[in-house]
Assembly symmetry: D2
Homo-oligomer: 311 residues x 4
């Protein structure tokens, strides 16, 4: 389907359910997509960081996009991550996900290599030239180790290179600059600014953001859909209360023992444990080499669900 301009609303990054053998569990993936769609989301983002895309082989990535695009194609927009180190490899990813039906692609700056602002711009220009669908820039300094400035992103939008920004940087100052630019500049019509920061969605929408891409939205899509609606309706007190309930729920990302595993293992493990406990997916396994949550840690995830009224 054609990507709305701008893309708005709640567009969760879809977790990738795995079997105990760490293969993509397509039945669970379909259930998860149904859970999100029936929760009222406005689009889906597959193969992003919350989807463990960094851990999926190309074959598994293909299964994911085939499954999701095959299941919902045309009903709502499907964004797909095209996450790889540099332009030629990203273009291969773009070809794969668009062949399978992605309506838009999400692309980071080059990583692993040392880079330069001029090369980041060149990268996005080449990717856009080779992509049959709109390109969203993905700002994720914790993974990419460089920062996309609002100015660079907006200038590339004005060139017709970028259709939107998915900001998971946690840098709300630069985010607001992007929002103000997207609204204020005449040369970037339809540019979409989306936040990936689960706990400041009310603030981001209050600033004028177009939408939200919350990893935690896998666990509680209805919550984020309500939050989005309250913000759009200017019901700020209701929005804040809903957001604060979600902030409480978000505490689950730290259940994993930091002495024993990385932050990624803890957060993704918690999201999957929550989906498992809620009966959405069949197995909470995360991809290798992430250390799994212990049974006690999974139990604590359950308490977060109960605390947020979800169990």
């Amino acid at each position: 389907m054609t990507m709305p301009t701008p893309l708005t609303g709640v567009v969760p990054p879809v977790c990738t359910p795995l079997t105990p053998e760490r293969e993509v569990d397509t039945a669970s993936l379909v259930r998860l997509v149904d859970h999100l769609v029936s929760g009222g989301v406005d689009g889906l983002f597959v193969l992003g960081s919350s989807s463990e895309t960094a851990y999926l082989t190309d074959g598994q990535r293909k299964v994911v996009i085939d499954t999701v695009a095959g299941h919902v194609g045309g009903q709502l927009p499907v964004l797909a991550g095209a996450i790889d180190m540099t332009t030629p490899r990203v273009l291969d990813q773009v070809r794969a996900v668009t062949a399978a039906g992605a309506d838009g692609v999400v692309v980071t700056a080059p990583f692993y290599t040392r880079t330069h602002p001029a090369e980041v711009a060149r990268h996005f220009r080449l990717v856009a030239a080779g992509s049959p669908v709109p390109v969203f820039a993905y700002d994720l300094p914790v993974s990419v180790h460089s920062k996309l400035t609002a100015e660079l992103v907006l200038d590339l939008a004005a060139e017709g290179v970028l259709a939107g920004l998915k900001d998971s940087s946690g840098d709300e100052g630069n985010f607001r600059e992007a929002v103000l630019g997207a609204r204020g500049r005449a040369d970037v019509p339809g540019f979409s600014v989306l936040t990936g920061s689960e706990t400041v969605v009310d603030a981001a929408l209050g600033m004028g953001a177009d939408g939200v891409v919350p990893g935690l939205g896998n666990v509680d899509p209805e919550g984020y859909v309500r939050l989005y609606r309250y913000c759009r309706e200017g019901e700020w007190a209701l929005a804040r209360a809903e957001q604060e309930r979600l902030c409480g729920l978000f505490g689950m990302v730290r259940v994993g023992d930091a002495g024993r595993m990385g932050g990624s293992s803890s957060a993704l493990g918690a999201f999957k444990a929550a989906l498992f406990l809620r009966g959405v997916i069949a197995c909470p396994a995360t991809a290798e080499p992430q250390v799994p949550l212990s049974s006690g840690e999974v139990e604590r995830v359950g308490k977060f669900l109960a605390g947020a009224g979800l169990l």
Copy 2:
């Protein structure tokens, strides 16, 4: 062929010549390999950082390893990088390069994801379990954004997981600790410690390192072979003079204007310009999105070659 234990000597990371259209130039690649072999090197390392592996598609990577292993297979050991973000993706790379004939694989810690020492260890264990050939750890914090400590590497060697360390960290203190451990510990027989730091090879060999993996060795393999031999013979004054000549030559990595391009573009561009000027490869192009050297910058590369007696 069977990997020597330990692997020793000069094992250059082989540049990947490209055509003007940025496809692998196999004729030039074969000439480059011949240039290295006739220069006296002890092994080849393809698909490493100096090979622009981060910029090569999987198809291009296959062309590279097929070409090199096909050309020299059995004559001298061929190490291949299996560079990707996490365990499942690295294992795909391992399968590809070993099917094509790699005698050993070179693997980094996970990147792009946030990780943890326990997960780094788990990663190497799983990769080794899935690899038909010996695994060398690749320490490259500038790209991977985490550091492999000597202790972790040696403990994994003692478990039979790692066959060697390719250290491009520039951290000579930790490097020496790895060398001393490799010599001093009874539980790591045959473990190979290799430095990737072009300008301190005499120092590394003086500490007891097994070998050297110099990007600049593409340009002047004879120089590094002489340097290695002087060090092995205890001819430290000759070694130092040879090393200092190579330090002068290495200055080429900074010909690129830092205001216009990244450090990677400058260094890889210079190596390729030098190979072009020496008549080894047909085209000095680097992969996208690297900014190419200007003609004035290429000219300065020529001056470095002349200064080192290579033109």
Copy 3:
């Protein structure tokens, strides 16, 4: 005077006017304080980052606190930075500023040294034990190179060590966690959470923050006072419009050429140029070794003032 618990409202970090010879210009400093007080601010924060405290000698720091406390002492609370590398040096700074009349001190984690969460906690405990006035933690990772987590700060508050948090980290997720903890935990009554991020004040107050410490408040105190009042009154549309005007004004921090000077020089130079152009201070000089703005750059500051209706 006794520090309000919690401290609320607009508490600008007071710039330190200098003479052309780089001595503290006390006449200008008094005028600046009057400008802020008549603008309606609720407190003053001297010797913070925007005050160039890192550039002031101990003698100059004493002149600043003597001048400000002498001029406004008792009228409104005066917080003073006690910025130094480690506990013993910070305690010397605490003694100096409290002897001169500071009503509260603002203290970072240790810097320059490598540190550890247990040592950060120990540091704040020892500083609080040696301080006759309340201690506010100052979270400024760009300078200190470590992060104060909400959990650590709130636990120290519960121990009676910390009276508040001045957050200039730009990490709004952790900030909100601190705000929610300050409100939700029974063991931290009166704890004050203040943001130093000029461009997201409406968002921070919307989350429940107690107050704001905006460097840009030197230039336009009335603007921040209005913004604060709109937020407190729930006039979110007015708040957003005021905040967006201030976002536009904040653009001045980037007038300085990044190829010629650091970000600090540009931002502090712009604030001082604006105060000079508005007639508040006699000389826009910044401390050594900051590169001064060019006359063209100062002119551009004037355009930002005009754009925000301040000239």
Copy 4:
């Protein structure tokens, strides 16, 4: 006394013994200085990182330089750290230590503030203009969070600004570039390049470094003096054996539990425990807020001493 040009030999950074109450223990400091001088060192460096200068008040710093300069003044050169955040504060430190008799000062780039290469150069120029004694640049990125390139340092040397470089960066590539520049450039006569890296002294001297500033030299000055002599005499096998013995001894820096304290606490705690166990100083206390070694950890320091033949 006049600083030799270049300064050469073993110049240990002198630890600062403290009483149990964390005051400078001048009697122990004098004994430590005698221990170093009788060990054959060529100079002393007080108020550096190994001296815990970041933890000493200005009053304590004065006691240190008064004590050391008063005790050895004129016998051998005394370098003093003038460690503070920016130019004006560094100049105050320079005045204090030179008034007390320092023969040279050691100065870092600005820290805590965001800086820029042009401002780093301006900083050193202003410090040198205000210093009655030669200025050595101190490269310590782990503390200062910026890097001094060989090119910048040598250009400042050519201007007459810098007399030497004390490199504790662990970046031996840049170090070698500084050494080669110091020898190869006609415009930097007498420039001294010193390494602070305890475990690669043989390598550094093999490259042509002028001297060494080893924290571990407090514990075993004779060892470093022997090592220096072997290197100067070209006795590389003896040098390597001596260096490897010292590498073993250096292992003490990791006795402290990383879960309980920072790396600084562990390393400085170990050096002081070793000096205490060897009977040189009266109390092994380190400054606040460093977590002290446990008795078990101190015992392990003893084993390192025994292993190196020092107990």
